[in-house]
Symmetry: C2
Subunit: 215 residues, 2 copies
């Protein structure tokens, strides 16, 4: 079981991820801009503790960053001094309101590559969890959606694929960090599909894989 800090862990996605990881037995710390609110969320979902993002970033094995695109740069700058050897999982989807149904990838190619530029090459960076519907993940229901995990550090990527499995999700390696653009762009398409096809949490499943674990 791993020591995991959820940065932005009072938001929809962060809270849902934290709940599932805590339930699986991991030692989960909730970080937020508002330390008091983080402590309340930690109590609510059975996490170990809560506090400010910076405080919760220190001393972890894995940090999962779940903040809106607009807060990505500031949040990464805030936690950067405390990352150490932790695997950092960036879940940022580059949605640009109000046109959230339109793919608008950042200049770096993806939010993951934006994070890489901000954190530098020494940080073990992975991206993932871009396509799961947070409101379904936040229940015990089956999440009918695969989780693509991207990164150039293969052992780090495998750690996160394992965490997805602990959460009851099928994690798949999607390859290099640069490939994160595919999953990030897909989120705008999923939002569009939700509206167009009267869905409540459209997801994706990959077909034809022969050696991937089924969930």
């Amino acid at each position: 079981m791993a020591a995991i800090g959820i940065i932005g862990g009072t938001g929809h996605l962060g809270k849902a991820i934290a709940r599932r990881l805590a339930k699986a037995g991991h030692s989960v710390s909730i970080g937020s801009r508002d330390g008091e609110r983080a402590r309340a969320t930690a109590t609510e979902i059975g996490a170990r503790t809560g506090g400010t993002n910076a405080a919760m970033a220190a001393g972890q094995e894995v940090l999962i960053v779940t903040v809106p695109f607009a807060a990505q740069a500031a949040t990464l700058a805030e936690i950067a001094p405390h990352i150490g050897d932790a695997v950092v999982v960036d879940t940022t989807v580059p949605l640009v309101p109000p046109k959230v149904m339109r793919v608008q990838l950042p200049a770096a190619g993806s939010a993951a590559q934006t994070a890489a530029a901000l954190l530098g090459p020494a940080v073990r960076l992975v991206s993932g969890f871009h396509n799961v519907a947070a409101h379904i993940l936040d229940t015990d229901a089956l999440v009918d959606c695969d989780v693509l995990v991207f990164g150039d550090d293969v052992p780090a990527r495998n750690v996160v694929i394992g965490l997805a499995a602990d959460m009851g999700l099928r994690g798949l390696s999607g390859g290099a960090l640069a490939n994160s653009a595919a999953a990030e762009a897909l989120t705008s398409v999923l939002i569009y599909l939700n509206k167009t096809y009267a869905a409540d949490g459209a997801g994706i499943r990959f077909t034809g894989l022969t050696t991937a674990p089924a969930v």
Copy 2:
């Protein structure tokens, strides 16, 4: 039934699309740089006729462009004078050999937007068929993969969703032409998944949609 020209119709994807559309009863013309080869392919798969790309582009209701990324610009320039009112379906995936498992989207954001810039606003442009495995499409087997169709011309987009259904595929609107980046990027991920998970034609299915037709 529609008059459809397949530009680059002797390639793997073009030939497979042509075969399924011809079988569904459409009047299919095969275009190729090599008119003689196009005529041979037309005979082989039961299409109406074959010839050079320029000759086959004229007088069609739908043109489906299935050429490699490196040939996209020259091919579109070649057929542009003959498009008229036809709906143009660009299937180009911006793979940049040798790193075809790495997402490398073009400067315009996507190959579809590259096509839009080349053809100008008067052409009724749609993109689609980026993710289907050509070697499965070229058989009568079930293709376990949804087809996302992108475009800013909604009636044109719906024409192509209908053609996907005629081919035994589930076509889904993916929204604006700019969203084509998602499906184009995903193709590199699918190639990576094929290699990593010992798959032979990995595909994607969207889950949770309530009003989409099942295929």
